[in-house]
Every structure is written in C-alpha cells, then in structure tokens.
C-alpha cells in the first residue's frame, strides 16, 4: 500500500512529463519528410525486433547540429532570456509594492484585495492580451489620454514594439508574482519590525534589513513563476510585438505550422527545456527552503 502511494507521483511524472518528452525527443532525432506524420522514421512495433533496430539506427543529432549552426536560433533564445529577465524585474518592481500594500491593509479588506488580483483570470487570457491593442495602438486609449492632457503632441508608437511586449507580460504575469510575495509578507511577524525599531532602525532601515530578507523566498518563487513561462511565451509577442521581436516561442510556432518541420521544432523545444531546467531547479530548491522555514 505504501509503495503504491509512493509510486503515484512517479507514475504522474512518467505519464505527464517523461512520456511526452520521450516522444518529442524522438521526433527531434528524426528527419523531416513529406508524409503524415511529417517525419521519418516511424516506429512499427508489429514488425518485430529487426525493424526496431533499423528504426533506432536512423535516429541522429542532425537537427541539433543545425540549430547550433544557424544564428537565428541562438539569437532567439538569447533575446527570449533577455525579454524574460527585463519583464521579470519590471513585474517585481510593480508587484512587490502591491503585495506589500495588500499585506499591510486592514485584515478585513485582504480577501477582497486577493480577489481583485485573481479577478483577471476570469476572462480569457487571449482576449485580455488583444484588449491591450486597443489601449496601446496609435489611436488607442493611452495615446488619446496622453494627447488630451498635453503630455505629448505625437502619438507614441508602442504597439508592435518590445515595449508593448513588456507591458503585456507585466500585466499578464503580475498575479503569479504578487500572490507568493503576499503570502510571505502576510505571515511576517509584526513584532520583528518592532524589534528592529527597538534596536535602532528607522522604518525604512527596518524594511531593508528585516522585511526584504524575510520575503526573499516569496520573491524568488514569484520571479521564477514569471521568468520560466515567459521564456517560452508565444501569444504576447505575436499579438503585441513587432516583426523584430524575436522570441523562441514564435520561432517554435513557425517551425511547426509555417515550415511544417516537426523535427527541427522538436529540437528547439528540447533545447528550450534544457535552458529552463536551471531556473526550474532553483524554483524547487526555494520551495523546499520555504517549507523548511515555515516548519
């Protein structure tokens, strides 16, 4: 019985991660072909051992070599990481004060404030991203408002730039960052701040030497929850970004649906996964740390 219980998470991992990953890896090692499915070789298990061996001998690393030789891919990976990094920092700058204000608000308001943070999830993500076109375009609300108050006299070209992509990411991913930080701040023992003040800290100083270090687990968790999915983000750069916005999610989509080169697309996905493994492991580690501190 106990073994069965322990086996469940592993079965889960096997079914939802390792098997799909195996399939993608297999496609990445195949060659593109004009067929259905669009790659060779395909595995025919009913034809016996001989055919399996033949199948294995046809797999190779060609697609990965191709990725390494074409600068486009490396530029896309690098620019994805840059965009993810910058927008994570921006999200943190917006989200931390929000989480702080929420945790400091009167107790009875807090459920309502959490509700407000989660509320956007009630409508479709795609629609919300499209809605930003209406705000950011040349004739959009933002430009209209800025023109009306006389801050600018030419509409700002925001849409189809990286600025719009950053805005879209900050907007979309904000709740993922606010909630974990709020959770750590909300648990923070007020008497620690009193103690810091008692030992000679001004309010600001007490924030830097007590509140901030103690909310670190929340900051790390929140940042990784933004950073990891944003690297592979496809919808926001395609809807709000311009032709020069290079992100690996877009490249992946093009390989699959425009080029119909499934093997190269799979290779792109496999490399992306390996790039993400480092931050994912960091995330796991910080989650463990958090459990230790609360225990």
């Amino acid at each position: 019985m106990r073994r069965l219980l322990i086996a469940i998470p592993y079965l889960w991992l096997l079914a939802l991660f390792l098997v799909p990953f195996g399939i993608v890896l297999k496609i990445a090692l195949s060659d593109a072909a004009l067929a259905i499915p669009p790659y060779t070789p395909t595995l025919a298990l009913d034809e016996g051992w001989q055919s399996v061996r033949e199948f294995l001998s046809q797999l190779d690393l060609e697609n990965f070599v191709f990725l390494g030789e074409d600068a486009l891919y490396w530029k896309a990976y690098w620019s994805s990481i840059q965009i993810a990094f910058v927008s994570t920092v921006l999200t943190l700058l917006v989200g931390y004060p929000m989480a702080y204000a929420m945790a400091r608000a009167p107790r009875r308001w807090q459920p309502a404030l959490i509700m407000l943070v989660i509320l956007p999830f009630w409508t479709s993500f795609l629609i919300r991203v499209y809605a930003w076109i209406g705000i950011l375009s040349n004739e959009g609300y933002l430009n209209q408002a800025l023109l009306a108050i006389g801050l600018i006299d030419q509409p700002l070209a925001l849409l189809n730039t990286n600025v719009a992509v950053h805005i879209g990411i900050v907007y979309t991913y904000l709740p993922f960052l606010v909630l974990p930080i709020y959770a750590t701040l909300e648990r923070l023992d007020e008497s620690l701040l009193d103690a810091a003040r008692d030992l000679g800290c001004s309010r600001t100083r007490a924030f830097w030497s007590v509140t901030l270090p103690l909310s670190r687990p929340g900051i790390i968790a929140g940042c990784l929850l933004v950073f990891i999915p944003v690297i592979g983000e496809f919808v926001i750069p395609s809807v709000l970004g311009g032709s020069d916005t290079l992100m690996i999610g877009k490249v992946l989509w093009n390989e699959f649906f425009a080029n119909r080169d499934w093997p190269v697309a799979s290779a792109v996905a496999v490399v992306l996964l390996f790039i993400l493994i480092i931050p994912i492991m960091l995330f796991q580690h910080s989650a463990m740390d958090k459990r230790e501190v609360t225990a």
């Binding site: 103690a195 008692d198 030992l199």
Partner: protein, 371 residues
C-alpha cells in the same frame, strides 16, 4: 542605605504622570502615575488584559499616550520614536530575526551604532558569554530550544547597554524549573550590568522573587506600588491582597481604632477581633479583614491567650509535601483555610478529618481594610 523610592532627593529614571491610553473605545491605561528609579528591578503585575504590555510599549515608544506624560532620564518622550530612545525591549514572543544567526541577532542593534567592526565582534562575544551561549553563536533561532532563544533575546536587548530594559513576560514560554533557574540568572545579570529592569508578569511568585518593587495593576489602573514584602504583608486593598496570594476574608464592622490597631465585630461569628488597619477606618464603618492561611495556627485546645480565635471542624486536608492545607468549616458554614509546614512525617490520627479544632492568629497577622 535608604531605598531610592524612600529618599525624597532621588531623581527617578522614569516618571509616568497621569498617563491614559485608549484604543478606540477600550481604555487600556487609566491615569497611571508611577516613578521608577535607576537600578531598580521593577515588576508590573496584574491579570491578563490589565494594560501591562500597553504600559511597557508606551515606555518603548511603540505607542503614544492618549493623555499624560512620560519622562525618561528627565526628557519628555512625546513623539520620540523607539529607535531614538536609550531603551531596549525583550519581546513577549522574543521576536528573534529568523534569517540571522544568534551572533547576527545580537549584533543587529550594534550595527546601527557608530561602533567599529571589531568593537561589535567583541561586544557580541561578551554578550554570548554573559548568557552562556558561546557555542551556539552560529545557529539560527529555529535550531534553539525555548530557553536558549530566551537568552538570545536577552543578550540582544542588553547588547547596546541600554539605561532601561523592558521585559514583557520573558519567562512565559519556559517550564517551571527552567523558569526558576532563569529568574535567578536574570537577577544576576541585572545586578552585573546595573541596568534598570521593568518586567511584566502575571505570575505573582515571579514578581515576588525578582522585583525590588511591584506595581499591582488591574483594569488599567495601579492599585499599589510597594516592595514584595509590603505588598504581601500590608496590602492596601482587598483586590491586592487576594491577587497576591490565598487569603481568608472576614467581614465586619469596625468598633474601635487608634490608627495603629483596631477591633471589629466579626459579623458571622458575633465576636470582636483585632488587627492592624490598612486604611484609615471610622468606627461604625463596614470593613473586611484579611488573614493569610500560613499565619493561622491550628490547635485542639482553646488558645485562650490569643485574641483572635475561632472554633471549627476539619473538613479536608490537602497534603502538598512540604506544607499541608487544612480547610476548616466554621459554625456559620463558611470555610477557613490554614496552612502549616510539615516538619515531622504526618501521623494520620493526629489531625484527622472531622476533628474539632481551634484556629487562632496574632493581631499582627490580620489586616483590616475597607471593603
């Protein structure tokens, strides 16, 4: 040597003058006036919710008084934030910084001062030695026992050598044995560092053991400020007498008083009893008399030489090891308590249940107070 509170020339370190504190509709402190002198070990004693923590937080600068003044070292403290007071506090829950080591916690306040790095390290070592935690300097708070945490909190609060140390139920989380041991440690440290301690507790034994003076509080007011002996032996009110220990209370009408001693008619026994008046009493006034159980002597024969005596029947005996408590029922149905040391092993038939006995006590053991 006269104690500073008896010396009219002594200047108090803390002067609390008609301080009132209200939280919305709740009055936590109601016209508190109190002087505390340098070097005192001062205890605030009272039941839960009586305003002890509030008074301490006011001294620490965490609360502003609604009315009245607080002077520390001659300076009016209105509007002075905690970080600008030469006062440190040991918090009820210790409030150790979980992200810092023991040494880091102790150094925290020192780093906010003008000390050099090596001076800080030296001071941290000194504090660790003071509380005997040299070996645990690198541990984090969650790796310590309750008693060790308490000592870290004490070391941290003492590190800046404050003029005044405020301690909010510092021993609340400790078990009884460790608690008693720590009480003496605290007293030692107080004497060694010559810091003024103001300690909050709701444990009367703790206050009696440690304090030079005790302020008994109730409902946001101070009932009495005195040395432990005087609080115990000469309570000024029934509330103080009953808060500070078990006591028998006799109701009566005062029929004679010369200020030094008084007599009253014990209503339920119709007997004249004598005692020492705790407040000024007028003849004919209703009064109550408190008698501590350990002052009541039990005998089989009537002690005719004792002015205060009464007969009753032993109802039950609680054997507590070093002492026994006897509950004796009087003829009016009320129960009187007497307590005596068990010097010899108890012989069961000596003083058994249902035996008729006499209870008596000297005049000096009876305090007559306003009801």
């Amino acid at each position: 040597m006269t104690s500073p509170w008896e010396d009219s020339n002594a200047t108090p370190l803390i002067r609390i003058d008609k301080v009132t504190k209200r939280f919305g509709g709740v009055t936590a402190l109601d016209g508190v006036t109190l002087d505390i002198y340098p070097g005192e070990f001062f205890a605030l004693l009272g039941p839960s919710g009586c305003g002890k923590t509030t008074l301490l937080r006011l001294l620490g600068g965490f609360e502003e008084a609604t009315g009245g003044h607080v002077h520390i070292d001659g300076r009016d403290m209105a509007g002075v934030p905690p970080n600008e007071r030469a006062v440190n506090m040991m918090f009820q829950s210790y409030a150790l910084f979980p992200h810092l080591t023991v040494a880091g916690n102790i150094a925290f306040g020192l780093k906010r001062s003008a000390l050099t790095k090596s001076a800080i390290a030296a001071r941290v070592d000194e504090m660790l030695r003071l509380v005997q935690l040299e070996d645990l300097a690198k541990r984090k708070p969650h790796q310590l026992s309750g008693g060790q945490r308490q000592r870290v909190a004490l070391a941290r609060a003492l590190a800046k050598a404050p003029k005044l140390l405020l301690l909010d139920e510092p021993l609340g989380a400790l078990d009884k044995k460790l608690r008693q041991q720590t009480q003496f440690e605290l007293m030692n440290i107080q004497a060694k560092t010559n810091t003024t301690f103001v300690i909050v507790t709701h444990d009367k034994d703790e206050a009696m053991t440690m304090a030079s003076r005790i302020a008994v509080m109730d409902n946001g007011r101070i009932l009495q400020v005195d040395t432990p002996e005087r609080i115990y032996q000469s309570p000024k009110s029934i509330a103080v007498a009953s808060f500070i220990g078990d006591t028998n209370i006799l109701e009566g009408i005062c029929n004679w008083s010369d200020g030094e001693s008084a007599t009253f008619d014990w209503t339920s026994q119709s007997r004249d009893m004598t005692g020492i008046p705790g407040n000024a009493l007028a003849v004919g006034e209703r009064c109550r008399c408190v008698v501590r159980p350990e002052q009541v002597v039990i005998t089989f024969d009537e002690p005719t030489d004792m002015p205060n005596r009464v007969q009753g029947i032993v109802e039950d005996i609680a054997y507590l090891g070093n002492v026994s408590t006897y509950h004796v029922r009087l003829n009016d149905g009320s129960v009187f308590t007497s307590q005596s040391m068990n010097r010899q092993p108890l012989s069961p038939d000596a003083l058994g249940v249902n035996r008729s006995v006499w209870l008596s006590w000297p005049e000096s053991a009876a305090r007559i107070l306003r009801p």
